[in-house]
């Protein structure tokens, strides 16, 4: 992972640190963080798959399965918000600050819609956290992902507030690029989760 681009041994310019800006460090560090964070989800996915395939009791008594229609709508909104975030980023690169703010706000709104939809779903389910392995995995996985969505929205709020500081984004927009990467990451995780939890219901 970290060795994917080894620098040539005798090329001083490529191997040098002092000429490179701090922004590059931030992005490198952030990508390393995301890779590490993705391993948590990989571990949880692996655990879920093992439980789903091997557990003698899966659904708690009286539960038929999960309703898929509203979560699907939620999924579509969240996944398309990634495209909106990309539009916002592009506007910022072209120095169009106002349209950046609009697209960025729309991304935040779509993220908030997802969180709202998830909260509504949680409140109307017929089982709880303590209802066997199904309840445990469902709430912990969707909850842990939801926490990431909320973090993403808060980070976007911070970036939005920074856009009102005059000249803040003149030298580059590392923060926005990083948050946007985080958002795409959260979306990809959700696609996997959606397939695992909602689509793969029959065993």
């Amino acid at each position: 992972m970290t060795l994917s681009s080894p620098l040539p041994a005798d090329d001083p310019a490529a191997a040098s640190g002092s000429q490179q800006g701090h922004a590059n460090h931030t992005l490198t560090g952030f990508v390393i963080f995301l890779l590490s964070e993705s391993v948590i989800f990989l571990a949880l996915f692996a655990g879920y798959i093992v439980f789903k395939m091997s557990s003698p009791v899966w659904l708690p008594a009286g539960v038929e399965g999960l309703e898929i229609r509203d979560p699907l709508l939620n999924t579509v909104v969240l996944v398309s918000s990634s495209g909106v975030a990309w539009l916002a980023e592009r506007c910022l690169k072209r120095q169009k600050l106002v349209s950046f703010r609009l697209w960025w706000l729309l991304t935040m709104a779509m993220g908030s819609f997802f969180v709202y939809g998830q909260a509504v779903e949680w409140l109307h389910l017929g089982f709880g956290l303590g209802d066997g392995i199904f309840g445990s995995t469902f709430y912990v996985l969707t909850g842990f992902h939801g926490l990431h969505v909320i973090t993403g929205i808060l980070l976007m709020g911070l970036m939005l507030q920074r856009s009102f500081r005059p000249g803040n984004y003149d030298k580059g927009e590392t923060g926005v690029v990083a948050v946007s990467l985080f958002w795409h990451f959260v979306d990809v995780i959700w696609i996997v989760l959606f397939v695992l939890i909602y689509v793969w219901q029959r065993s």
Partner: protein
């Protein structure tokens, strides 16, 4: 900058107590972002916890000096070994090695500081927080967790007294915070090594310590999230009524064992790899020869990283693991002996016909190497399924891993402390006290850990407060060894404290070593080379080759001497 400031502003940022500097010691108690201050903060706090863990160990050995459980109650004994293991790993070894990373990586690669200084300070300050949380578990009703440092369910998800805040809860919280701190550190170290190397320092001019730090921190980034996930699920089972590890709710306690060992076996390599780095740095200095097979040693570090991630099931050979899985993991575990053996032979070849200087640091390296070869042999024995099923969960395992973790890793850490102490404090240590420390530690370690192998082969189970009288002789020897190790701390502490307070002033390069850090004054200024970063023109460890390490080397040597 106002000209009325009468002292050089750099003095304020110097990491060491400089006479006359207004805040010379307070910096160590502040949110300082200088990697050299953070390094010393890590090392000092970790050494404090070494004493705490050592006292716990000596109480246990006091209990085990007689076959009956007479000194402490068996349930207290469970808490003692749980806390001893947890303190030594999470509050001593990981933090002290992060201290070495902080002190060594930036000067070794010619960087002014870490890539993210504030993240670095935040990672450090989590350490006292989770240290206090773990210590607080001695005070809660029911005492500290007694489920061992593995914290296997179902024992670790019992809450007989029904308090929400119990010893196990605090244990999980402390381990999770330690994981967060380590990941913050790992991101920092890896980014720094990738992006902040001096001009001309390609990958194959990087000192081995940085290679091994990089390999070890990669393990942290891949493995720790899995432990964190496993620990969070454990917390939910313990405190919020979920069923991840409860068979009665459809869960599976074996999943925890997989999550735990997926990280916690590689964690041994996180600790031993930097020590391999220390060996690789020190043998060339004290044998006056280039490191044998530099490139192979460097690449073998990553060989260990990759293999370490596919061996974890060898801790579960006796946990009802299917036979195909046992065979597979037996082979992968034995394969680790290949890159490790390459390193051992490279060090021996480096020593071969060298002009050995037996300083304290070198003695600890040699002692650590001998012990490591012993531990490596018992390690391959344990990798073998039939042997492991026979001696797993006996004192043979305890003897094996203490020979790795104390007699190899901690020896390497002592070597590193004696070797780099002059560089980062500006003071020499006392060789006589150092050699006394080495002698006591070496004898104490053998006396403590070799009889454990023997007791284990005879069948003495681990984690027991009382045992059959036939094991008494081995246990008396081990206990005497443990008390000797306690005594060995006295010359060490005396040496470190008195040397720092009034030891002889250290020159920039007291060991005639080759490396960027030795081109800096002792102690180095806050930003190391500042704007005058040298251009590296040859590989490390050029002992006896007569080639300069950097362009215009005389200039840097002279500058370091002036400071």
């Amino acid at each position: 900058m106002s000209s009325s400031v009468s002292f050089d502003p750099r003095v304020l940022k110097t990491p060491q107590p400089v006479p006359g500097a207004p805040d010379n010691w307070k910096r160590f108690f502040s949110f300082n972002t200088d990697a050299k201050v953070i390094g010393i903060q890590y090392i000092a706090t970790a050494l404090f916890y070494l004493l705490v863990g050592g006292v716990l160990a000596m109480i246990m050995r006091g209990e085990l000096i007689t076959p009956a459980a007479d000194l402490v109650d068996p349930s207290v004994y469970n808490g003692l070994y749980t806390m001893h293991g947890t303190v030594m790993l999470f509050l001593f070894l990981f933090p002290i090695l992060n201290g070495f990373n902080n002190l060594l990586i930036p000067p070794m690669i010619g960087a002014p500081d870490m890539a993210f200084p504030r993240l670095n300070a935040a990672a450090f300050w989590l350490f006292p927080v989770f240290g206090v949380i773990l210590m607080a578990s001695f005070l809660v009703p029911g005492g500290p967790s007694g489920s061992g440092w593995w914290a296997y369910p179902p024992q670790s998800i019992q809450n007989p007294l029904g308090h929400f805040i119990n010893g196990q809860f605090l244990w999980i919280l402390a381990v999770a915070l330690s994981g967060i701190s380590s990941i913050m550190g790992a991101i920092n170290f890896v980014t720094t090594i990738i992006r902040m190397r001096a001009p001309g320092m390609g990958w194959f001019r990087l000192p081995i310590f940085c290679w091994t730090a990089m390999a070890a921190q990669t393990i942290q980034l891949v493995g720790l999230p899995v432990l964190t996930a496993g620990a969070v699920l454990l917390l939910f089972d313990l405190s919020f009524g979920t069923s991840f590890y409860r068979p009665e709710g459809g869960g599976d306690p074996m999943l925890y064992q997989h999550f735990f060992w997926f990280y916690s076996h590689p964690a041994v390599y996180v600790m031993v790899l930097p020590v391999f780095g220390i060996f690789s740095e020190l043998f060339p200095v004290y044998a006056r020869k280039p490191l044998f097979g530099y490139k192979v040693v460097a690449i073998a570090s990553f060989g260990i990283t990759v293999l370490s991630l596919i061996v974890w099931v060898h801790h579960m050979f006796y946990s009802g693991t299917p036979q195909w899985m046992r065979n597979l993991f037996m082979v992968t575990t034995m394969l680790i002996a290949v890159p490790t053996g390459i390193k051992v032979f490279a060090w021996i070849a480096t020593l071969w016909r060298g002009k050995l200087r037996l300083t304290t640091a070198m003695l600890f390296c040699l002692g650590g190497l001998v012990n490591f070869i012993f531990a490596g042999i018992t390690g391959v024995m344990l990798a073998t399924v039939p042997v492991d099923i026979h001696v797993g969960n006996t004192y043979f395992v305890v003897g094996h891993f203490h020979t790795v973790i104390f007699s190899t890793i901690t020896f390497g850490i002592y070597a590193g402390i004696y070797h780099w102490f002059p560089k980062f404090t500006g003071r020499m240590t006392y060789e006589g006290l150092g050699k006394l420390h080495f002698g006591l530690t070496f004898v104490g370690a053998q006396l403590n850990f070799i009889p454990m192998h023997w007791a284990g082969l005879m069948g003495m189970p681990r984690r027991v407060a009382s045992y059959d009288p036939e094991f008494a002789f081995a246990n008396v020897l081990a206990s005497l060894g443990a008390f000797l190790l306690g005594v060995a701390m006295i010359p060490f502490i005396l040496n470190i404290v008195s040397s720092w307070a009034r030891g002889p002033k250290a020159p920039p390069n007291p060991w005639q070593a080759i490396g960027l850090e030795w081109l800096l004054p002792s102690p180095p200024p806050a930003e190391n080379f500042e704007d005058d970063v040298p251009t590296v023109i040859s590989g490390p460890y050029g002992y006896g080759l007569g080639k300069p390490l950097v362009e215009n080397e005389a200039h840097y040597v002279a500058r370091a001497l002036e400071a």
